[in-house]
Subunit: 366 residues, 2 copies
């Protein structure tokens, strides 16, 4: 049952690509985090991914991540020390060293930053995360669903400012950490949801690092072998083709530390004559075709560049891009009443009921 393996450079490249898919437009550009992880390997560091059963009941597990607007992160490149510093601060507050590092989300830069921290600290990485995708707010993790507290949590910026939070609930952690992040310049680095190995095994989305690597590898190999990479992607993710078209308009505005907005697409090929609107808040939230919802959170909505078959983050959406939109079922933990209350469409302000994508799409379209 249990497994453990060391990441090779190709695994990290595949992971970055796979996590960009699972990032559903958010989580920031995985490229920088990928380079940092590759550099760690080049410096002789090891990154070991281990199955969840490795974590002892009382071991200390700490997720580390970047927080803030990905739009800002493009301009404000992290140096990798901030996340380490946040972790150190939390450990020192706890009076205990971390036993396992783990991602909080499997999306974008937050899939690779924990690897860099783990490499520097010579700690294993647990093969799970708190979302199985990316989400924009701190309480939107499966750990929250099983009662793990986000705090004590530590935050650090690149200037050397550090903040430690202890809040009455995880929504207050989000509220306060968000304004601090904005004040810090739009991005911050956090160590959050410190928990026991037992709670982690109960709450985590299992095997998500390995899953992201498999997605990346599948896309890479399909391209190499001249196969249709979208077919391969739908296959491995049990996903659905939702749309194919051209971006004809992107509206965006940074409010309260988020990159919000919407993209309008006009159909091509078999979707000619149809139009799609995708709403996003860091991540893609709701996709409508001709006004009808075809997918919504917590299911994954992934926009890929038709030419390169690489996922496009919401901050890089732009007029004229030809794209393919794919829907992927979310982890079952999100489909519980508390899961949907936490990350369903109504939480994000959309007056629609969640319908699992399998029921909406009915069948694979391709």
């Amino acid at each position: 049952m249990g497994y453990a393996y060391q990441l090779r450079p190709d695994d990290i490249r595949d992971l970055a690509l796979g996590a960009a898919v699972l990032g559903t437009g958010g989580g920031g550009d995985p490229y920088i985090g990928m380079l940092m992880a590759l550099q760690a390997l080049e410096r002789g560091k090891k990154i070991e991914v281990v199955s969840l059963d490795h974590a002892g009941d009382n071991d200390l597990v700490i997720p580390v991540a970047g927080m803030g607007t990905p739009t800002v992160m493009i301009e404000k490149i992290p140096n990798g020390r901030e996340a380490l510093y946040a972790l150190k601060l939390l450990e020192s507050h706890y009076g205990k060293q971390v036993d396992y590092i783990t991602p909080i989300e499997e999306g974008g830069i937050n899939s690779t930053i924990p690897l860099v921290v783990a490499a520097e600290r010579d700690k294993p990485v647990l093969d799970g995360d708190g979302m199985g995708r990316a989400f924009p707010e701190l309480q939107m993790v499966t750990f929250h669903l099983v009662g793990v507290k986000a705090t004590p949590m530590a935050m650090a910026d690149e200037k050397g400012n550090a903040v430690l939070l202890d809040t009455v609930d995880n929504y207050w952690a989000e509220k306060i950490a968000r304004v601090v992040t904005v004040r810090m310049g739009g991005t911050a680095w956090i160590a959050i949801y410190p928990m026991t190995g037992r709670k982690y095994r109960e709450g985590a989305v299992n095997r998500s690092i390995t899953y992201a690597i498999e997605i990346g590898r599948t896309l890479r190999e399909a391209k190499k072998m001249g196969a249709n990479p979208i077919d391969a992607l739908l296959d491995i993710t049990r996903g659905y083709l939702l749309f194919e078209g051209k971006i004809v308009d992107v509206a965006r505005y940074n409010i309260g530390g988020f990159a919000r907005g919407e993209a309008r697409l006009e159909g091509l090929d078999s979707f000619r004559g149809k139009s799609m609107i995708v709403k996003f808040q860091n991540e893609n939230l709701v996709a409508r075709v001709n006004g009808e919802v075809v997918a919504s959170v917590p299911d994954l909505i992934v926009i890929l560049d038709k030419e390169t078959v690489r996922p496009i983050t919401t901050e890089r959406l732009r007029y004229g891009l030809r794209v393919i939109v794919v829907g992927i079922p979310c982890d079952p933990k999100w489909r519980t009443p508390k899961g949907l209350e936490t990350v369903g469409p109504r939480y994000f302000g959309y007056d629609i009921d969640y319908v699992p994508i399998e029921e909406k799409a009915g069948r694979k379209v391709m």
Copy 2:
């Protein structure tokens, strides 16, 4: 040289009144803090005020205070536990118990809150503060002038949220703590500028608690004896009568966690035909008569109700009030180049040079 005395209920009442004068319109309503301190005495607690020479070189001194918009504090009455909790948090981060409590400012509620905390914790209060008046921002303390760091600092709200800050400088402490305060609902309770007894003696404005009590007592006794309380006030503070008039307009707006605005006055009696404008940001900052500056920060501008001869906080300024405006020289520590850089009119955005009130007013007008 050294002295120590226990506060009696009348001392606390006088202190609240005197601190309202020194609060120059800011620091919030001292009434609540006064009641809390009186209640502590009624419960049998002691509040001991001691001279600065009591503090040993390596003793730990911690100022405690409320932070935020006084306008909000009127609606959101503190229960006294928040400041205690902030102090406890800072002590636990420090790994050391506090030896002496002290006010950060001698103005409004922040002159009495430290007394309540000291009573609960059975610690003496050092007879000084970091301003000798009230100011709106965290770095505006004389401790800052001698290089004391605002952080580590602890913040708490009435809901139970707590934040610990460690920033690269005191301006960053202000910036981050301010957004946290706003998010916490407009007010927060803080323990800040932890320092040694040696640094405190070097940096503090000396004897400011006793001074506030003397001001309050002077006003009270003058009223009781039928003397002119304004004359008595000018006497004990070496102050100047700046204006007498009626408030004809108050503009205010809460921006970034501050109560900003201005009051316009029309002259009465010997000031008839003249008009005054007082600009404020929590505290009164600049007073102009017929366009000419008659007083500015760091000197104190105090607006008193003509009828009751009680100071009026900026949030209680309103049309129709008949008022007397008094100017009082600030502590000499503020008149140094670094002092003026920190709290001079230019820091607040006014393009005027600071001129000591003695040079401006020239003589006592009454």
